[in-house]
């Protein structure tokens, strides 16, 4: 699958806005991202495994609310900064 990032995570992805990964669920994906980009998981996911309030995950173009969301063949993932004022 393709994983696309908004600029908010560029410090972790070494500037990459798109990478290739393999994972069956979002939970597996964020663990794989942590191995590849140390530190990225906790900036995106809190210690209770909840997606942080101002980040948005989309799987196959659909919003994903939690890490249990399966990722099916052919589905790409977007990890994007939501609107955040101040």
């Amino acid at each position: 699958m393709k994983v696309r990032f908004s600029s908010h995570l560029a410090a972790y992805t070494k500037g990459a806005s798109e990478i290739e990964e393999r994972a069956a669920t979002l939970a597996e994906l964020v663990d794989r991202l942590e191995l590849r980009f140390p530190g990225i998981r906790f900036r995106m996911i809190d210690e209770q495994d909840r997606i942080r309030p101002h980040l948005r995950f989309f799987v196959g173009g659909e919003p994903a609310k939690d890490l249990a969301r399966p990722i099916h063949a052919g589905e790409d993932v977007h990890i994007l900064g939501a609107l955040s004022g101040g």
Binding site: M44, E47, R50, S84
Partner: protein, 377 residues
């Protein structure tokens, strides 16, 4: 006169800045921002090694973390395990650290130990210079005990439920104080295993009982480094002093001018004279504008432990100055005479080279200033 002057470590809403003065403290050079776009709540140099700096950071989108430098800011790395609560049995009800608010280097006898206070309330300890952090279980037991006895004692402020003012007794690594907004002042004598409230005498006028055992709102607590049995606090409900081993706070702010009042966020103590303290009052009347009273910003100094106060505003805007100063944004150096530094909600830094006789602006147009620490003080 030293060639190199103080180094100010400045935390702002949009990043960290480092401001170096010359030996005369007349000219200042600004470096930064470091971590642009990160809310840098506290930037602290370890006085024990003189080169480790920790930055408590978060962005509008990303979660909280701690950045570390072991070479005085030349290079940076992120904590391998930032402060985080244990995973709850029911994660939907579990707490998550929203921001690391406060950083305190540990006792000189414990190199590498750091303490962190968070929003929501949490106390965390690092034993490896800030690389990994663990919750302090004794402190979290205290929070649970308070929650069982009161629904309101640990209510969040508009900035969240803040654990701050982590003070380590320079005579005893196991003796510490901490402030909770709201919650009150707490003390441990056994290295953070057990805690007791230390709020007698301080008020909580926002509760039906204004003299509860816990539930007060200490904004900032300081302990005198040479006379650690003398503590001061700027509280939501006034300025207080505590002389140990007595356990009762005395409201020394009663002697402030009535039209100014004794409400504010920060309080700073003279590094050598325990009877000298400085505050920066804000308007706590009617709807609590939290601005400089009447738009006339001023520091107030007491040279006699709080019996009397003197206005210190020469050089500050005489009118239409509506900024205020947050609890971590007023600091001192250790020179003779002592230099005073405060950062404003309007992104300005003001300093006095003569213990408050006159003030000079040394930086402007910075982001909102959250904290100032002076290295080596």
């Amino acid at each position: 006169m030293p060639k190199v002057g103080p180094l100010l470590l400045v935390g702002t809403k949009k990043g960290a800045f480092f401001i170096r003065g010359d030996g005369a403290r007349r000219t200042w050079k600004i470096a930064g921002p470091q971590f642009l776009g990160n809310e840098a709540n506290h930037v602290v140099l370890d006085p024990r090694d003189g080169k480790t700096i920790l930055v408590a950071a978060k962005t509008g989108h990303l979660g909280p973390t701690v950045f570390r430098s072991v070479d005085k800011g030349k290079t940076w790395a992120e904590a391998k395990r930032p402060p985080a609560f244990p995973k709850a049995d029911d994660p939907s009800k579990g707490e998550a650290v929203e921001r690391v608010f406060w950083l305190t280097p540990g006792h000189p006898s414990e190199p590498g130990v750091w303490w962190a206070g968070t929003v929501p309330h949490g106390l965390f300890r690092s034993g490896d210079g800030g690389a990994t952090w663990e919750p302090v279980s004794g402190f979290h037991r205290l929070l649970e005990e308070i929650r069982r006895s009161s629904e309101t004692a640990l209510s969040p402020t508009p900035g969240g439920a803040i654990t701050h003012s982590i003070l380590v007794d320079p005579r005893d690594a196991r003796h510490m104080y901490v402030g909770l907004s709201t919650g009150g002042v707490f003390e441990t004598s056994d290295g953070a295993e057990t805690w007791a409230p230390l709020n007698a005498g301080s008020e909580a006028t926002f509760l039906p009982d204004p003299h509860p055992v816990v539930g007060q709102d200490p904004h900032c607590i300081v302990l005198h480094p040479l006379r650690p049995d003398i503590l001061y606090q700027q509280n939501h409900c006034g300025i207080y002093r505590l002389d140990r081993p007595e356990g009762k706070w005395v409201r020394i702010g009663r002697s402030m001018p009535e039209k100014v009042g004794d409400i504010g966020f920060p309080i700073a103590v003279h590094p050598r004279d325990p009877e000298t303290v400085w505050v920066f009052p804000m308007d706590g009347t009617e709807v609590w504008p939290r601005t400089s009273p009447l738009g006339k910003p001023a520091v107030y100094a007491s040279r006699n432990g709080g019996r009397t106060w003197k206005r210190s505003s020469e050089g500050l805007p005489p009118a239409q100055g509506w900024f205020t100063v947050f609890r971590q944004a007023f600091s001192t150096d250790a020179a003779e005479p002592v230099g005073l530094y405060f950062g404003t909600t309007g992104g300005e830094i003001w300093m006095s080279r003569d213990e408050g006789k006159g003030w000079k602006q040394i930086a402007a147009h910075l982001p909102q200033i959250l904290s100032i620490e002076v290295a080596g003080r």
